[in-house]
């Protein structure tokens, strides 16, 4: 089981369950984006939605995380009714991919493994991911799709990136720990209840 190839880990496991998890993850992303956040700035919220790709990534790999994020942002736009912002969807997708890399550096939440050095790597990927996704990818696509001015996107990206990093570390790490613990030994839903 150990020597799963890197490529396979990146692509993730694809079956009915993956499709459903991504779908429900994306729906939750949309819900949280609209209702579960603290607004700082338009298009920029201290949103808890970004935790979803982390969890999806932890369980299914970065590509499913990417898709969940991309679809999630599109659904958020759909619920919000503020038009479609594919530049942000793609940026979020890329961020989802990067923060969803967990299995690649050995943080196997499914098997209850999440140690301190994993947390450190995780924080680093969050910072890099945000910088790359919103510093490079989103502005790139903004100009490509909407011909928008880069300065605006940069200001937004900066706030968005900082907020995301905050959420991803402050909330993300405890949640990853909780999930890892939950999965650590869950065979025993044993029936014997001693009075």
């Amino acid at each position: 089981m150990r020597e799963k190839s890197v490529l396979k880990t990146i692509l993730g496991v694809w079956n009915t369950k993956t499709v459903v998890v991504i779908a429900i993850g994306a729906a939750l992303f949309g819900v949280l984006m609209n209702f579960g956040g603290i607004t700082i700035f338009t298009n920029t919220k201290l949103t808890t939605a970004m935790i979803i790709p982390v969890i999806v990534g932890a369980m299914f790999g970065p590509v499913p995380a990417f898709v969940a994020c991309l679809a999630g942002n599109t659904i958020a736009d759909l619920i919000g009714g503020w038009g479609y912002w594919f530049d942000w969807s793609i940026g979020n997708g890329v961020l989802g991919f990067i923060v969803g890399l967990l299995p690649l550096y050995g943080a196997k939440i499914n098997d209850g493994i999440f140690k301190i050095h994993h947390a450190v790597i995780y924080v680093i990927t969050c910072v890099i991911g945000n910088a790359f996704a919103f510093g490079v990818i989103t502005p790139l696509f903004t100009t490509l799709f909407y011909g928008g001015e880069l300065e605006v996107t940069f200001v937004q990206s900066l706030t968005g990136g900082i907020a995301n990093t905050l959420v991803l570390t402050i909330i993300g790490i405890p949640i990853l720990i909780a999930f890892a613990k939950r999965n650590a030994r869950n065979t025993n839903l044993t029936l014997e209840e001693k009075e």
Binding site: M1, K108, T187
Partner: protein
């Protein structure tokens, strides 16, 4: 002819650590032998964690035996190329109605299974209509499932299975999340399908009242089948049932208590009329 047959069935949930070594083994089903005939209505009782759901998942080939064999209409569930035939033969309804409805319109959800089978469009429409009628939900065909009550949603789920024309339906606690009226609706629907469409039914439940009309009751305890017989036979063994963390319907309990007090009341009273009859006969 047997619809379902389990022979020396053993199933173990195995947990492995990082290196892939076995960390723990949980034997959820322990050497079970059962046989269900075509057209039967069989109920399965058992405490939480007794292996009922694990058993049910074997019939639909969602799980395959660790040891032993399960046959569904003569097909061995271990044969990979039969898996879709098996799933079409034995449909499955789950506990939470919300978690098994896929589409946002009732009729589309009912058609989902039939679409997967590659059935032509016109035929799907016909089947959807028939199955919705069979569960009494035809007038809701254009509704959104979110606006239905729990019992109605569960009936839609049953219709979805019916549209695949299965010969057998396995229901895993279909009434657990419903209120009494919803529960009654669902149980009635299942009985009707059993009688009218001759569908073999396997019903898993924690509600004793729901099994009194079954043909046969199976009681599970820690992965083993510990009792089986008609409802009357099963419910006449009040003490034994209690030992397995189960109970009997309130009338049965009352009859049992009266009997203990020395009244001449037959064992295994199942409904109000029987008890009233029995008491009238004494006086």
């Amino acid at each position: 002819m047997g619809m379902i047959k389990a022979e020396n069935l053993i199933f173990e949930y195995i947990r492995r650590d990082e290196e892939g070594n076995v960390e723990s083994i949980n034997r959820a089903i322990d050497n079970v032998n059962i046989e269900v005939n075509k057209g039967d209505f069989v109920a399965i009782l058992g405490h939480n964690g007794s292996g009922k759901s694990t058993m049910a998942k074997h019939i639909n080939a969602i799980l395959t035996p660790t040891e032993g064999t399960v046959w569904v209409n003569g097909m061995n569930t271990k044969e990979e190329n039969k898996i879709w035939d098996i799933r079409q033969t034995a449909g499955m309804v789950f506990q939470n109605p919300d978690n098994q409805i896929i589409a946002t319109v009732v009729e589309e959800d009912v058609g989902f299974g039939a679409e997967n089978l590659g059935i032509p469009t016109e035929e799907i429409w016909k089947r959807v209509e028939e199955s919705l009628k069979a569960v009494g939900m035809l007038e809701y065909r254009k509704h959104s499932p979110n606006k239905l009550s729990g019992g109605q949603k569960q009936r839609v789920a049953i219709a979805g299975i019916m549209a695949m024309k299965p010969e057998c339906i396995v229901l895993d606690e279909p009434t657990a999340m419903l209120d009494p009226i919803g529960r009654k609706e669902v149980i009635q629907t299942i009985h009707e399908l059993n009688k009218r469409e001759k569908v073999t039914v396997l019903l898993i439940t924690h509600y004793m009242e729901e099994v009194i009309h079954a043909d046969k009751v199976i009681v599970m305890d820690r992965g083993k089948v510990v009792m089986h017989g008609t409802p009357r036979e099963i419910f006449s063994k009040v003490e034994e049932l209690k030992q397995y963390r189960l109970a009997v319907p309130q009338v049965t309990e009352l009859a049992y208590e009266l009997r203990k007090e020395g009244l001449e009341i037959p064992k295994g009273i199942l409904n109000i009329e029987e008890l009233v009859e029995a008491i009238s006969r004494i006086a």
